[in-house]
């Protein structure tokens, strides 16, 4: 009878709930990648940070009983992977795309290796914030149970926007990304700025990983991210390197990802795998629509993907 009380609102509510739940990993990884790319370097390995962050958080929460300590350790794992990436891309003749692929393999290898004993045990989860407590309807209440990490991510996006636009450090990062030569002439240490951006970007992505293992789906297995870190990197192109747009793009993709399970829940069984491929295809379509062979994408840092001069 409760479905009747909702009237036609059942499906939109399910989609809203799915969007709020599914968008957080996209949000964190795309913000991390946005910060990294603003400094002119690409980190394709954030999927590795996401996975290692997820297992670091899960294991810590399991052993200490404190999920927040887990989030902290996830960040630390991200810092370690970011530091390796940052150090490697500053070497001569080393290309950041290749390093990203290697970090993807290494990060997931490390996560799967360390995660083997944690597939069975159940770790304490992050608390949920009941934003829907005002409503008498249990469906609304459960749809609006949000993770504190969602609120954190939603706060980071405008903060990062302000940081790039209005602070001295943000300007320095943008200068490095637009023209490393000019930035160096201004007395900015290009390698240092890029290193800090790569490490912070990996940290943010890894915190997103702790959401996967400690909130939704809230367990550890090797398919926990299945390419979300990669989709999020493509999202940054779609979002034109703008943190606020990253937020909206993450909601869009989080919603799409919930589409498969939502459609399955109303009884369509047979196309499960095809629905699950929608986020990847949508990412591809979005890239086809937003890229151009003739000019660099609008909003792209000028020196993105080019080798530093040594």
């Amino acid at each position: 009878m409760t479905t009747d009380a909702l009237g036609g609102w059942g499906l939109p509510l399910a989609i809203l709930a799915g969007t709020l739940r599914g968008s957080v990993p996209f949000l964190f990884v795309s913000l991390g990648e946005c910060l990294t790319e603003k400094s002119g370097k690409i980190n394709l390995g954030l999927e590795g940070s996401l996975l290692l962050g997820a297992i670091a958080a899960y294991a810590t929460s399991y052993h200490t009983g404190s999920p927040w300590l887990g989030v902290l350790l996830a960040g630390l794992a991200g810092v370690i992977l970011g530091a390796i990436h940052a150090w490697l891309v500053q070497q001569r003749r080393v290309n950041d795309i290749s390093v990203g692929i290697a970090m993807l393999v290494f990060g997931s290898g490390a996560a799967f290796y360390l995660g083997k004993p944690y597939i069975q045990p159940i770790a304490p989860q992050l608390p949920a914030i009941p934003l829907g407590a005002w409503s008498p309807l249990p469906q609304v209440q459960s749809a609006l149970m949000v993770s504190p990490l969602l609120l954190l991510g939603m706060a980071i996006a405008p903060l990062m926007q302000w940081f790039f636009r209005s602070t001295r450090w943000g300007l320095m990062i943008r200068a490095v990304g637009e023209s490393p030569v000019a930035a160096a002439a201004m007395g900015i240490s290009v390698p240092r700025v890029q290193t800090l951006c790569i490490i912070s970007g990996s940290l943010i992505a890894a915190v997103g990983g702790s959401y996967l293992s400690l909130y939704f789906p809230g367990s550890w297995n090797e398919n926990i991210s299945s390419g979300q870190g990669l989709i999020a990197i493509a999202l940054v192109i779609f979002a034109r390197w703008n943190p606020i747009h990253c937020l909206f793009a993450s909601f869009l993709f989080g919603g799409t990802q919930g589409l498969g399970p939502a459609i399955q829940s109303i009884g369509v069984e047979s196309y499960y795998y095809l629905f699950n491929s929608i986020p990847y295809l949508l990412t591809l379509v979005v890239m086809i629509l937003t890229c151009s062979p003739h000019r660099a994408s609008v909003g792209a840092p000028e020196s993105l993907g080019r080798a530093n001069n040594h």
Binding site: L44, I84, L88, Q91, R92, R93, V94, N95, I97, S98, V99, I101, A102, M103, V105, F106, G107, S108, G109, A110, F112, Y113, G115, K116, E222, S226, G227, L230, I231, I233, A234, I237, S270, Y271, Y272, Y273, L274, N276, S277, Y280, L281, T283, L284, M287, I288, C291, S292, P293, H294
Partner: protein, 358 residues
């Protein structure tokens, strides 16, 4: 005095070997931290890879798909593209090859196998050519799009083998109907090694001649060196991109067809067995050289083959191999920065100056 190209060859041999040794040392250190004896682990690695005829056969079985899969990264790399859609191309073309084999009845087995290979290669070729076309005509980053297509290929395989193409008798692992016995690719006499190894070696050799000895290969290398200059010189960069991507994909497609015809005998989830991802590593360790790919594929095949011994003898998780691969990948990329630094490998200035003086 050693000639310049010999010194270069020596340098590009010694550095990857040194890098592999460094990766092994770091890996040993990691194992020691975990409480294992690193030397026992090295011994197991060798034992599982090259220690006996049994291990050699395991290694060679894994080396042949790796050779073909690596070419899928190597060929576009010579054009300056980083394509890592090997896994997707293998999966999708293995599926198409299996369907081709199932629908061909009444043909002679060798003709049917040939048609399966052509179907697989064409599918893989088109799969990667899409990526090349998106890159050339729309400027879509080829690395990201190829990785996305991997997920699409795997989900498409799952959909088809669990739905429309499913053999109802396959309960535990949903699969297509099995191929007829006659359509199985044979083994070398007296071994478990199938003829796919031969195809892998031949394809690598052809790829080498194509890149190094033909006008087409020369044009490819020019574009890889400087795409803008190549365009100025009137090279058809778009056509080259599509052709190279098609060839690259068809190598991976052949790998998929061989896996179906020689190993699984049908298409199922086992096609997605990470040969694609390991192939990327092989390509990078071989420094995008098709001949070096054969040796590196042998080495990586050995590492894959020793994985189960590492699990059994030392209780290490199966992800150990992935971790080690990641480590090798990182160290190999780092070793790129060693080139040109060690004076011994550089031809003395006097050497190169002599021509001018004379």
């Amino acid at each position: 005095m050693l000639a310049r190209n010999w010194r270069n060859l020596l340098e590009s041999t010694c550095i990857p070997v040194a890098a592999l040794a460094l990766a092994l040392i770091i890996f040993g250190g990691f194992c020691a931290l975990e409480g294992h004896n690193p030397f026992a682990i090295y011994a197991s690695l060798y034992e599982g890879a090259f220690g006996s005829w049994f291990s050699w056969q395991n290694t060679l079985l894994r080396a042949s798909p790796l050779m073909l899969s690596a070419l899928c990264t190597v060929l576009p790399a010579r054009l300056g593209l980083i394509i890592i859609g090997n896994e997707g191309a293998i999966v999708i073309s293995g599926l198409v090859a299996a369907v081709t084999g199932l629908s061909l009845t009444g043909l002679s087995p060798s003709l049917a196998l040939l048609l399966m290979a052509i179907a697989g290669m064409a599918t893989g070729g088109l799969w990667i050519a899409i990526i090349g076309a998106l890159r050339h005509y729309r400027g879509v980053n080829e690395t990201i799009s190829s990785l996305l297509l991997n997920y699409v290929a795997i989900l498409l395989l799952s959909h088809l083998v669990e739905g429309p193409l499913r053999d109802p008798a396959s309960l535990n692992q949903p699969s297509t109907y099995p191929l007829a016995e006659a359509l199985h690719l044979g083994n070398f006499p007296g071994s478990r090694i199938h003829y796919g190894l031969l195809w892998g070696l031949v394809t690598c050799t052809i790829a080498h001649f194509l890149i190094q000895r033909t006008t087409f290969g020369f044009a490819t290398r020019v574009v890889g060196g400087n795409a803008r200059a190549a365009k100025m010189a009137g090279l058809a960069v778009g056509k080259l991109t599509l052709a190279i991507c098609f060839l690259a994909g068809s190598c991976a497609g052949l790998a998929g067809m061989i896996e179906v015809a020689a190993v699984h005998g049908r298409a199922n989830g086992a096609l997605h067995s990470n040969y694609g991802y390991t192939g990327i590593l092989v390509a990078f360790v071989a420094r995008q050289n098709p001949l070096a790919v054969t040796l590196v594929a042998l080495l990586m095949g050995g590492i894959l083959a020793s994985g189960s011994l590492l699990q059994r003898a030392h209780g290490l998780p199966d992800a150990t191999v992935l971790l080690f691969q990641g480590l090798v990948f990182l160290v190999i990329l780092y070793s790129e920065s060693w080139y040109g630094r060690m004076a011994w490998f550089q031809a003395p200035i006097a050497d190169s100056g002599e021509g001018e003086r004379g």
